[in-house]
Structure formats: C-alpha cells, structure tokens
C-alpha cells in the first residue's frame, strides 16, 4: 500500500491531528492552566494555515470519492485564512467567558470538525461524500450556536438552526435520490455523462439546490439567518456568515458548472429570479434592523444575492469573479463582525444606537468598521468595489443588463443602510458613549489582518489573474 497517496488529504489529516492533540491537551493540562489551550490552538492552526499553501498534485482518492486540484486547494486555503482570523478575534471571548467554565476545548473541537466537513464537502467526488461533508459541517455549528447554555436565546438559535438544517438536508437528499434514479450513479463524473433535462432530473436538481440554498441563505430559505445570528455567540454568527457560506458557494459553483452544466438552460431562469428576490429582500429587511447582528445577517443575505450574478454566467469569468468576491467578502465581513464582537465583549452593547459617538472614544475601531462597511457596500478605493465590479462585468458580458441594473439599484439601497451605521459612529452625538477600551493583542492582530486584506486585495491585480488561471478547470 502506498501511503504517499494520503498526502493528497494533507489538509484533512493535519486538521484532524490538531483536533486530537487538543483533545489530549484537554485531558492532561491542569484545570487552572486551560487558558493556554487557546494559545496552543491558535498557534497550531496558524501552522496548519501556513503549511496549507504548499503545492499539491491533482488527483483523486477512494475510487473518485475524494478529489483535489489546484482550485479546490485554493478554496481550502481561503477557508483556512478565514478561520484563522476568526480564531484570533474570538480568543478574548474564549479566555474571558468560556475557559473558566472549562469548555474552551469543546469550542475548538466543534469548530474544527465543522471545518473538516467543509474540506470533504468541497473535495467530494460523489454525492455520498458530499452529503456526509454537508452534515459534518452543519451539525457542529448547531451545537456551537447553542454553546452558551445558560442563555435562552442561544438555545433558541441552536434549535432553529438544527431544525432548518435537517429539513434542508432531507429535501436535498430526496433530490439526490431522484438524480440517482435517472442517472444510475452517485459519482459526479458518471452522472455528467448521462444527465439530460428530463422531468425527474430537473425536479431532483431543484430539490437538491434547495439544500445548498439554505446554507447560502438564498431567499426562500433565509428565514433562519437573522434569528440564528442574533442568538448565537458572535464568533459563531461570524463563522456561519463567512466560512460556512463561502464553502457552500464553492461547492455549489463546482456542481452547477460541472455536473449540472447540461441543465443550464433550466437553472438560468431559476437563478435569475432567486438572485433578484435575494438582493431585494436582504436589502429591504436590513433597512429596519437595529441590532447589529441582525443587520449584518440581512446584509449577508443581500451579498449572497450578488454572488448569484456570477453564478448565472456559467463561464470561467463567472467562476473567477465569484471566488474573488467571496475572498473579499470574507475579509470585509470578518472585520465588521470583529468590531461588533470587540464592543459586545467589553460593554455588552449590540444595538446601532449604542454606537453613537463611537469615533470620539474609539477612533481605531470606528475606522475598521468604516472600511469594512465601505467594502461591503462597494465604495471605490477598497476591495469590495472591485469584487462587485467584476461580478457585474461578468453578468453584463452574458447580456443580463436588466439583472445588472437591478443589482446596481440594490447597491444603492445597501449604501443607505451601511451609511446609517457610519453616521451613528461619526456624526451622531451621545451623552454616554461607549468608553474607550484597548483590545488584547489577538483581537488587534485579527482586525489588522482584515484591514490589510480589505485594502490590498482590491489593488493587487496578480491575485485576480491567479484566480482566473486556476478557474480554468471548470470548463
């Protein structure tokens, strides 16, 4: 037996090793020193992230169930970077609130299991692996959402997440069984040879799409988003909106552009309608939110609508723009959630009105938040503008002018509510604003990386060329 084949699964094996190491650490480290596990986890995950950038060869394992190539490798690295920033941002919360309840390691184990599931989901070569990856990535997050067991709101968000996730995966499975009935196989490369737009296949595809649309929170399946984000701990909400959504977008894109490509004339129309509905509903509901977490939830629904603009093209340009947009979205959204988390941790305040006059007391945090919101809204000097611009170019190049017009209308609406937050921070006066506080090193580092990302990603054009080159495998 040749063990060097398993090097293809390097990401998965390393992450599993880290998880097990932390489990052993949990047993052997003395109760009063559990705080050091947080440092250990961040250090190990940092190494894992760095090692992930080493080159990998393109191949598949287990008779085609697990496959990897440069693009998938790149996806995994993007997710790694996101989780690393997330860990840096949540370190303080863990050390102050969770470790003294003796539950710090649980957080890491659940988080890493979920990430492991995403790796398998992205790398999957058949529907079985895909399904297991999907479940492995969803179930631990439900446990994480209900992590603050003493808070009722946290349990409620956990139960909402697990029930909707179970429904979505059930519907998706029913769809997969129909695809299996028409094609006689669950392997992607065998399905793609025989797939045709028969009624049963199309029905199966729609049901299957519903399952993934739930994870990306596209519009008919978005009801869980705001409630879960509001109730869950902020790092978990951030994980759901950034990493979980990113992974689901990647695998949806791979599947739509490979095995469901012959059905493109069917799903084009559906994606068109869903994109418009998602953008409008996300943006219009975001207008009336006062809680920052709910606000970011609806903003992330709207962003998912923009991602569909790239999906509808079905070209290499579309793939490259989606990946580029998701990369920028990860940095921008993590910055926004990071600031919300820093403030919530120090003062417990999460409402928009509490942010009044923040600039006078905490100028640095306000500037980070401003950059993040500018990037989410797509204002030129920062990266978000380029992400959106490329997406719109991709959609326009296929002649979807009306869709692009509606998207631009939505950008304008979104600009209004992003500016509401900025107005609160910079212009509004407040009798007792949030007092000045200094963040710990980890949080500052986490915010610094996101800021650098927001500023650099848009201007560093070789990155986009690199992504475009990678995305050639889908055509």
């Amino acid at each position: 037996m040749n063990f060097s084949n398993f090097l293809l699964m390097r990401h998965e094996i390393l992450l599993l090793a880290i998880t097990l190491l932390l489990l052993v650490g949990e047993i052997f480290i003395h109760k009063n020193k559990k705080g050091s596990l947080v440092h250990l986890a961040i250090f190990l995950f940092g190494i894992h992230t760095a090692v992930g950038f080493l080159q990998i060869e393109e191949s598949s394992l287990f008779g085609g169930m697990f496959r990897t190539n440069n693009m998938i490798h790149f996806f995994k690295n993007v997710l790694n970077i996101g989780v690393f920033i997330l860990l840096l941002q949540s370190a303080e919360w863990l050390q102050e609130k969770i470790v003294n309840q003796d539950r710090g390691t649980e957080f890491f184990i659940l988080l890493f299991s979920s990430l492991l599931g995403m790796y398998f989901m992205i790398s999957s070569g058949d529907f079985l692996m895909f399904y297991i990856g999907l479940e492995l990535s969803t179930l631990p997050v439900a446990a994480l959402a209900a992590f603050e067991t003493s808070k009722r709101i946290s349990s409620e968000s956990g139960i909402k997440l697990i029930l909707s996730a179970a429904l979505a995966s059930g519907v998706s499975l029913f769809g997969i069984s129909m695809l299996y009935a028409t094609s006689g196989s669950i392997y992607f490369n065998e399905i793609v040879e025989v797939i045709s737009a028969s009624n049963l296949t199309v029905l199966g595809f729609f049901l299957f799409f519903a399952g993934l649309a739930f994870k990306i929170s596209l519009v008919p399946f978005h009801f869980w988003t705001a409630d879960v984000y509001e109730g869950a701990p902020i790092s978990v909400a951030s994980y759901l909106s950034v990493i979980s959504k990113g992974a689901a977008v990647f695998i949806l894109m791979i599947l739509m552009f490979t095995i469901f490509k012959p059905l493109m004339h069917v799903w084009e129309n559906m994606v068109y309608v869903v994109a418009i509905a998602t953008m409008f509903i996300g943006n219009l509901f975001a207008l009336r939110q006062q809680n920052m977490k709910r606000f970011l939830a609806f903003s992330s629904i709207a962003q998912a609508g923009f991602i569909l603009l790239g999906l509808i093209t079905g070209t290499q340009l579309g793939v490259a723009t989606i990946v580029y947009f998701v990369l920028i979205y990860i940095f921008s959204n993590l910055a926004a959630f990071g600031v919300v988390q820093a403030i919530s941790l120090k003062t417990g305040k999460e409402n928009m009105d509490d942010y009044n006059g923040l600039y006078r007391t905490n100028p640095n945090l306000s500037l980070v938040m401003m950059l993040a919101l500018f990037s989410l809204a797509g204002i030129p000097p920062v990266a978000g503008f380029f992400g959106k611009f490329f997406l719109f170019t991709a959609a326009a190049s296929k002649g979807y002018y009306l869709l692009v017009f509606l998207a631009v209308v939505n950008v304008t609406i979104s600009l209004y509510y992003y500016l509401l937050v900025i107005r609160a921070m910079f212009i509004r006066k407040n009798e007792n604003p949030i007092p000045f506080f200094k963040n710990k090193l980890y949080m500052r580092l986490g915010l610094l990386i996101t800021v650098v990302g927001i500023l650099v990603l848009g201007l560093y054009s070789p990155l986009y060329d690199y992504i475009y080159e990678l995305s050639s495998f889908l055509n």
């Binding site: 009722r152 349990s155 139960i159 059930g170 299996y180």
Partner: protein, 105 residues
C-alpha cells in the same frame, strides 16, 4: 424485488411520506413533533434509495450504502436536536413553539 408490486407504487408511497413530513414540519406546534416530521422526510429518501437500487440498478450497491449512511447521520442529527431541546426545556419548561420564540422579525 417484491412480487406484484411495481416501483411506481413504492415511489408513490415515499413521495406521500415526504410531503407528510414537509407538511408536518410547517404546521406542527411542538418541537418533538417537528423532529418526527424530519425523520419522515429522511426515511422517505432512505426508502427511495433502496427501492431505486433494487428495482433499477440491482448490480450495484450504491443506493443501499447511501441509505445506511443516511440512517447513521439522521441518528446523530436527532441526538443533537434532542440535546438542544432538553437544554431549552430546562430553561423555559416547555417544548411548544409559542413559548420558545422570543426572536421575531
């Protein structure tokens, strides 16, 4: 293969089972009943996989293997959901939806 019963009849039953599950999920007012509805949906897919495997592609075992995995994952899902429901019950002493919800639009 069951003598005298064609695949259409079984698939009709599973489809009905599926929609009972979806209907139950949307209308039940009790968290445990909702969980049971989800089990119905999952079981409908399990039967689908086995039947399609048996009737249409009997020389491969893909569908049967898939169904075993679905059962295992469904058990994990239910265990987690029940754990969260119990935690909720300890705080509000109820599993009715109307007592549960404090977050709304």
């Amino acid at each position: 293969m069951i003598a005298g019963i064609s695949i259409y009849e079984i698939l009709t039953v599973t489809s009905i089972l599926f929609f009972i599950g979806v209907y139950g999920f949307l209308t039940r007012k009790n968290l445990i009943s909702i969980l049971m509805s989800i089990e119905l949906i999952l079981n409908a897919s399990v039967i689908n996989f086995v039947v399609i495997n048996k009737y249409l592609y009997p020389d491969m075992l893909q569908g049967v293997v898939f169904s075993i995995f679905i059962i295992a994952v469904a058990a994990a899902e239910t265990a987690l959901a029940v754990a969260i429901i119990i935690n909720l019950y300890r705080q509000i002493a109820s599993v009715e939806i109307k007592d549960t919800e404090i977050m709304k639009y």
